[in-house]
């Protein structure tokens, strides 16, 4: 018996992939969350700011509507402010330096057989695994 969570993961994953496919084939854009947001913040995306804002409106708005209709799913997000701030800074700086995150390098890059996308994904998975091991099993802070 396959756990329900795996099936939901696959279904949700297919939805994410279809969203990326529509964004690519209709608008000619890579669906990378860090690039779409980061370009708005540092001004490099000024030329298509409206498209970026529309994408973010959907990405924030639809989960909010789902939460309002059927109850907010648990995020289980830590309530340690120092951890949240350090993690957020690392994610913000790291994804902009590497020019991509899980959606851009992971979903869009791997499926294009992009060397950079595959390399980036391997590095953030390994780094994440190491930090998780040290943070949870050695230091107990995660």
């Amino acid at each position: 018996m396959i756990p329900t969570e795996w099936i939901l993961g696959l279904v949700g994953g297919l939805m994410i992939g279809c969203a990326a496919a529509v964004f690519l084939l209709v608008n000619g854009r890579i669906m990378g969350a860090s690039g779409i947001l980061g370009g708005l913040l540092d001004g490099t995306g000024r030329g298509n700011a409206g498209e970026r804002m529309a994408f973010i409106a959907g990405l924030v708005g639809v989960p909010l509507v789902i939460a309002l209709v059927s109850g907010a799913p648990d995020t289980n997000l830590t309530t340690s402010l120092p951890i949240l701030v350090i993690a957020g800074l690392f994610v913000g700086v790291g994804t902009r330096m590497a020019n991509g995150c899980t959606s851009g390098h992971g979903v869009c890059g791997i499926s294009r057989f992009s060397v950079r996308g595959i390399a980036a994904t391997l590095v953030y998975l390994i780094a994440g695994g190491i930090v998780m091991y040290v943070g949870r099993h050695m230091l107990g802070v995660i």
């Binding site: 949700g12 000619g28 498209e51 990405l59 989960p63 939460a67 993690a87 690392f90 700086v93 950079r116």
Partner: protein, 142 residues
């Protein structure tokens, strides 16, 4: 039209993240916790997302432009450089600490309460600061 497509793609991305459980930081951190209670859900999400994109890239390779006229984004030079590796390692560390990457950070922004806002604020600060920070040098052809 581009704006409507972007809104739709962002919304479908957000719905997929919610359905797949990637807005639950326990599942993401569980995936990275190889030496604890390992949770393989993320592999189903990533695999599910890559499937439609394999088809999308196969179509995109035969076209010059997307349906609304924009050029299909050219692939980056297949170079694994220091910013890609360092940035991805930083990103992976932050991802493990909080269990959020940029897509889910936006998806939980509307209902995740103050921890979601704190992470988002730190992430955007990192994204704004990154162009002003030193970038590691060094390039190695893949």
């Amino acid at each position: 039209m581009r704006l409507l497509v972007a809104l739709f793609a962002g919304g479908l991305f957000g719905a997929g993240l919610t359905v797949s459980g990637m807005t639950d930081t326990d599942k993401v951190q569980g995936w990275l916790d190889l030496f604890g209670a390992w949770d393989p859900t993320l592999a189903f999400v990533l695999g599910g997302a890559i499937l439609p994109m394999l088809g999308a890239w196969a179509i995109a390779r035969r076209r010059q432009t997307a349906m609304l006229g924009a050029p299909i984004p050219a692939p980056a030079d297949p170079v694994i450089d220091a910013p890609l590796v360092t940035g991805s390692a930083l990103f992976g560390a932050g991802w493990a600490l909080a269990g959020l990457c940029p897509g889910p950070a936006l998806a939980v922004l509307g209902y995740g309460g103050w921890p979601a806002l704190a992470f988002f604020a730190a992430m955007t600060a990192g994204m704004i600061a990154q162009p002003f920070l030193p970038v590691p040098r060094g390039t190695r052809a893949a």
